[in-house]
């Protein structure tokens, strides 16, 4: 909810500064040694018996260039829960040099216990642990005729019913790289609906399909995504928060494996996130 508050205030500001102008400038940027980036968000459809786990392993680039695939020595996913037989899967690269590693794993197994992702790269060991987080289904998606700033905005009204017995955090994926995080602090256990507006930038025309997903996430991942959304937005905001390096849950455990007392290496960390999330997806067609 707080994100709604924040987004809206910022929206007004942007509206109020329409008289301002933007132009592309060249800027000399400081340089940093490339870091590993791991995009391992496993979206789980619980109605399927198997889930295709996709892990992207890339290297960071300077801002004006694209990330390049990394060549790790090993990518594995292991169930750490001792009460069920330990499962370990080796993820295989879909195409050599693509940086995309996959494996088909039993959905039921993914929904149980702690899972650890391990990536060996450049004599470093990076690990992350995660646990399945449930979501709630989308009750309905309807089109509205409202708009925010422009009559061409397309309004979709999304309704969900929040699960009363737990504190939920949700990540909505509205397609076209539009995301929204929200939590049930102010609508615990209630039916909740809100509007989302697609604007000109999304260049939608009748007949276009939009996939809208709701993902169940935990609080740390919610915090991470909030910062990622905020920092990738890159539009003018007179009330900027200090820019930071957003650290996810990937830890360099190289030294921890060799020496229990050693600290992780401060500069050789990896970016990105590993999470197992339940996804409910709906597809709508623009009329």
């Amino acid at each position: 909810m707080k994100h709604f508050l924040y987004t809206l205030v910022i929206m007004t500001l942007i509206a109020s500064s329409l008289s301002s102008c933007e132009d592309v400038v060249s800027v000399e940027l400081p340089n940093d040694t490339p870091k590993l980036v791991i995009d391992a968000i496993v979206r789980i459809d619980t109605t399927k018996s198997n889930t295709m786990v996709v892990v992207k392993v890339f290297k960071t680039s300077v801002f004006f260039e694209n990330n390049t695939p990394a060549i790790p020595d090993l990518v594995t996913l292991t169930n750490l829960n001792t009460s069920i037989p330990q499962e370990s899967s080796l993820l295989e690269e879909t195409e050599e040099g693509s940086g995309i590693f996959t494996s088909s794993i039993s959905t039921k197994a993914l929904m149980q216990g702690q899972w650890q992702l391990q990536i060996n790269y450049n004599n470093q060991i990076f690990t992350a642990t995660s646990q399945y987080v449930p979501s709630v289904p989308i009750e309905s998606i309807t089109f509205g005729d409202g708009f925010l700033f422009d009559e061409d905005d397309i309004e979709v009204i999304i309704s969900i019913i929040d699960e009363p017995n737990r504190n939920d955090f949700y990540l909505f994926d509205f397609d076209f790289n539009n995301f929204l995080v929200t939590d049930d602090e102010f609508y615990q256990g209630q039916p909740f609906s809100f509007s989302y507006f697609y604007d000109n930038d999304d260049s939608l025309v009748p007949g276009d399909q939009i996939d809208i997903s709701i993902l169940g996430i935990d609080e740390p991942f919610s915090n991470f995504m909030e910062k990622v959304i905020d920092q990738s937005d890159g539009s003018f905001n007179p009330f900027e928060t200090p820019s930071i390096t957003i650290r996810g849950n990937i830890v360099n455990t190289t030294n921890l494996e060799n020496n229990e007392n050693a600290m992780s290496q401060p500069d050789n960390f990896a970016l990105g996130y590993f999470a197992l999330v339940q996804e409910f997806k709906e597809t709508i067609v623009i009329k």
């Binding site: 924040y6 007004t12 301002s20 340089n31 940093d32 980036v37 937005d233 890159g234």
Partner: protein, 774 residues
């Protein structure tokens, strides 16, 4: 003082002969004794001299100096009225410039701007603005165009105490900072203390902006007004009972669709202010004032969204003169800041705010002509509402929830002596004792080891601790309290009538903190009191300066160096989310701040060409080290630039009176670009391009500079007419520099390439304002 000669006291009030307004800061000099005094905020003065005949001169810039030869053989009252200087060409505006440099008194680090100067300074869209005028003074900057508040000597925006007729104003900005909340027509005197802050002020560590509104014309009815590109304003004042009671009512409103050129959509964005004041002079010794301010900003877009916020202030003051040597003022003040938001498409409304009731009693005791004693009491009760959320329609799934309200009281007593030790050496010294009580509240989280912020050594980052429980404390119980002793000392040594050196030390505490981690505060930011997890900010400031008047005060030079450090400046963990946060202690750490610099102000105070040049060289940094040796702190515990660190700051203001008809004003500003961060790289995640950054505030935006110009036309037919008018033609940013308000890094949605985008707010902006008075 042991002189056998008998002493007598002369006291009185100095007023403007035309309007009956009391005059603040009038110099009363007895040349033969090389002594003197000045009128206080209520125009009162008192001077005690040995029996004899003396020549007293009453002088203040913009008025004709008056000399009176008086026989001191009994205690006497002498009310003086001064005439506006007729040599001033401009008939509408009292043209007193920045305050005359007072080399004799120990008070330093202070600047005064009259409403006349404020109206002359060219500003964007011609909207005369108190805060924007302050930015032309040395040591004062802000985060840039369209950002709220101001920064004094490398301090934060929330460290400025802003007083309007003695009442605290919590948000000084309209429209997110484009304009300030003070209606220039209603203002009499603006004084900014940057250091050497007297003991009667407290509660904010960086500066005091003390604004007094006019009392209202007690001689005749007057209407002042203006029509500008942004707003229109009107102010009516006049006697209720001639020379006894007067009123003032002023209103200002902007036009309804400011900055929202969305013609097809039902929307509005406007602000308004209402200033009212009544004063009643009961008798020679009693004077009462009732004043009020009410201001709001309103935004609404297409019925989806509406946003209202602003200040409301009401106050009652009673001046009582106990004797010709003892002046007192009692103030009872209510002040309120409200922020409201309604989001129809999510289905809720949100309100937050802060309310306080303040009682002040200040006494000025003029013991002898070399010793003045000021003492008083100040107590404030605060109620903080961090926010309440409510459903705004029946089908909304939102559940009403009140974030935990907070309550506090701050009481301070002070005593302050102004003493002339020798005719050349003067000292002002005093102490303020402040006691802050944080009262009980409905819910307080408990944490393991009483630690709300946990450090993860693996990722070297801080995160919010999970509360292990909640306690409730009674409203009348004390959660915590803080007592601070704040000594102040200022001294001046005069080499002669025109030059002196001054030095000062100030200690201040601040118990109210604005929770804000943005480059400039937003109206949504909430204030929070010191308490179990937040300690009071404590400042030490040292300043030293040289002051000189040249050529019979035609020119003046002020230069100062300062150093200050602030303990317990709160800092926010990376990515802290402050909005609607019910447990703010989980995202903050206690850090420290420091600033130092050199300021110079050179002014020309007379002649057809007047103005000043101000330059500041300074540094402002903060640091938040780890709490234990394992922790890294924020920014690896290193000092980093505050968002308002601007090493070079140069401003120039010129006013040229060509003839009775035309006058011209121009200003030039040059500032080092604001600290910011450029990405050291980017990573792609779920289709998003996410820049990542190195050390905090380690790069800068390009330098900021611009020239503004205005011409004021006073039609000559005004002469002898009751209706007086003037046209102000202004051009802001004359060479259309695209000053960067920010540089953002993003992926171009059309081309898919990553780019750096500069946003600039105001290019060249011409405007016309029409001012009138009758």
């Amino acid at each position: 003082m042991t002189s056998a000669q008998e002493k007598f006291t002369l006291s009185g009030t100095v007023i403007d002969s035309a309007t009956g307004e009391t005059l603040i800061g009038v110099n009363i000099i007895i040349q033969s004794l090389k002594t003197g005094t000045t009128t206080n905020e209520y125009g009162f003065y008192s001077i005690t001299l040995p029996e004899g005949i003396y020549e007293l001169t009453y002088s203040i810039l913009g008025y004709t100096t008056k000399t009176a030869t008086l026989l001191f053989n009994k205690n006497d009252t002498q009310n003086i009225s001064l005439n506006e200087d007729t040599e001033q060409l401009d008939e509408i505006i009292i043209s007193n410039n920045v305050e005359q440099t007072n080399t004799r008194t120990p008070q330093m680090s202070v600047n005064t701007i009259s409403s006349g100067t404020i109206k002359k300074i060219p500003v964007v869209l011609g909207e005369a603005d108190v805060v924007k005028s302050l930015l032309l003074l040395p040591g004062v900057t802000n985060a840039g165009e369209g950002s709220s508040g101001f920064n004094v000597r490398g301090g934060a925006v929330d460290q400025n105490l802003i007083l309007l007729d003695e009442a605290t104003i919590f948000n000084s900005s309209h429209l997110f900072g484009f304009f300030s909340v003070f209606n220039p027509d209603a203002i009499k005197d603006v004084k900014l203390y940057k250091g050497g802050i007297p003991a009667r002020y407290g509660g904010r560590v960086s500066s005091v902006l003390d604004i007094f509104q006019k009392e209202g014309n007690s001689k005749e009815y007057k209407i002042t007004g203006g029509i500008g590109a942004v707003s229109s304003r009107i102010l009516v004042e006049g006697p209720i009972k001639k020379n006894k009671a007067a009123f003032l009512v002023g209103g200002r409103t902007s036009y309804a669709h400011l900055f929202l050129p969305l013609f097809d959509i039902k929307n509005s964005a406007y602000f308004f202010d209402l200033n009212t004041k009544i004063n009643y002079r009961i008798n020679e010794n009693n004077n009462i004032f009732l004043s009020g301010y009410f201001g709001r900003d309103v935004f609404s877009i297409n019925e989806n969204f509406s946003n209202t916020y602003g200040n409301a202030v009401g106050n009652f003051r009673w001046n009582h003169i106990f004797s010709d040597r003892l002046f007192s003022n009692l103030s009872l003040i209510y002040s309120d800041y409200f922020y409201g938001l309604e989001l129809d498409f999510v289905g809720f409304e949100w309100n937050s705010g802060i309310q306080n009731i303040n009682l002040k009693y200040d006494l000025k005791h003029y013991l002898t002509n070399t010793l003045q004693l000021n003492y008083g009491l100040n107590t404030t009760y605060y109620s903080f509402n961090p926010g309440i959320i409510r459903p705004n329609r029946p089908d909304s799934g939102i559940i009403e929830e009140q974030l935990v309200k907070k309550f506090a009281n701050e009481t301070a007593v002070y005593i302050d002596l102004e003493q002339d030790i020798t005719p050349k050496l003067s000292v002002e010294y005093g102490v303020r004792l402040s006691h802050f009580i944080r009262f009980g509240q409905d819910e307080i989280n408990l944490y393991e080891n009483n630690n709300p912020v946990i450090f993860n050594p693996e990722t070297e980052s801080y995160s919010e601790a999970t509360p292990i429980g909640v306690t409730t404390t009674a409203r009348n119980s004390q959660l915590t309290s803080f007592t601070n002793v704040e000594p102040r000392i200022a001294t001046s040594y005069s080499f002669n009538d025109d030059s002196s050196i001054k030095g000062s030390y100030t200690r201040l505490s601040q118990n109210l903190h604005l929770l804000s981690n943005t480059s400039s505060p937003t109206p949504l930011d909430v204030w929070t009191p010191s308490g179990p997890f937040i300690k009071p900010q404590l400042l030490n400031q040292f300043a030293f300066g040289f002051f000189k008047n040249i050529k019979d005060k035609s020119y003046s030079l002020e230069t100062e160096v300062f150093y200050k450090d602030i303990q317990n400046r709160i800092d926010y963990i990376d990515g802290a989310d402050l909005i609607a946060n019910n447990a703010i202690e989980r995202v903050i750490l206690n850090g420290e701040a420091r600033a130092y610099g050199w300021e110079i102000l050179f002014r020309k105070n007379s002649g057809k060409l007047q103005g000043w040049i101000a330059y500041t060289l300074s540094k402002s940094e903060q640091r938040t080290p780890g709490r234990t040796s394992i922790e890294t702190g924020i920014n690896n515990g290193e000092w980093y630039n505050t968002p308002y660190d601007k090493p070079n700051d140069l401003s120039l203001f010129l006013n040229y009176e060509l003839n009775n008809k035309w006058s011209f004003n121009s200003n030039f500003i040059y500032q080092t670009g604001r600290p910011t961060n450029f990405p050291v790289g980017q990573f792609e995640f779920q289709g998003l391009v996410v820049p990542f950054f190195g050390a905090r505030n380690s790069q800068r935006l390009p330098d900021f500079h611009r020239i503004d110009f205005s011409a004021t036309l006073t039609p000559t037919k005004n002469k002898g007419r009751k209706w007086k008018a003037e046209w102000v033609f202004s051009v802001y940013n004359i060479y259309n520099r695209r000053n960067a308000a920010s540089i953002n890094f993003r992926q171009n949605q059309d081309t898919g390439t990553n780019e750096a985008v500069r946003t600039s707010i105001f290019g060249i902006v011409p405007s016309i304002t029409y001012n009138f008075k009758f």
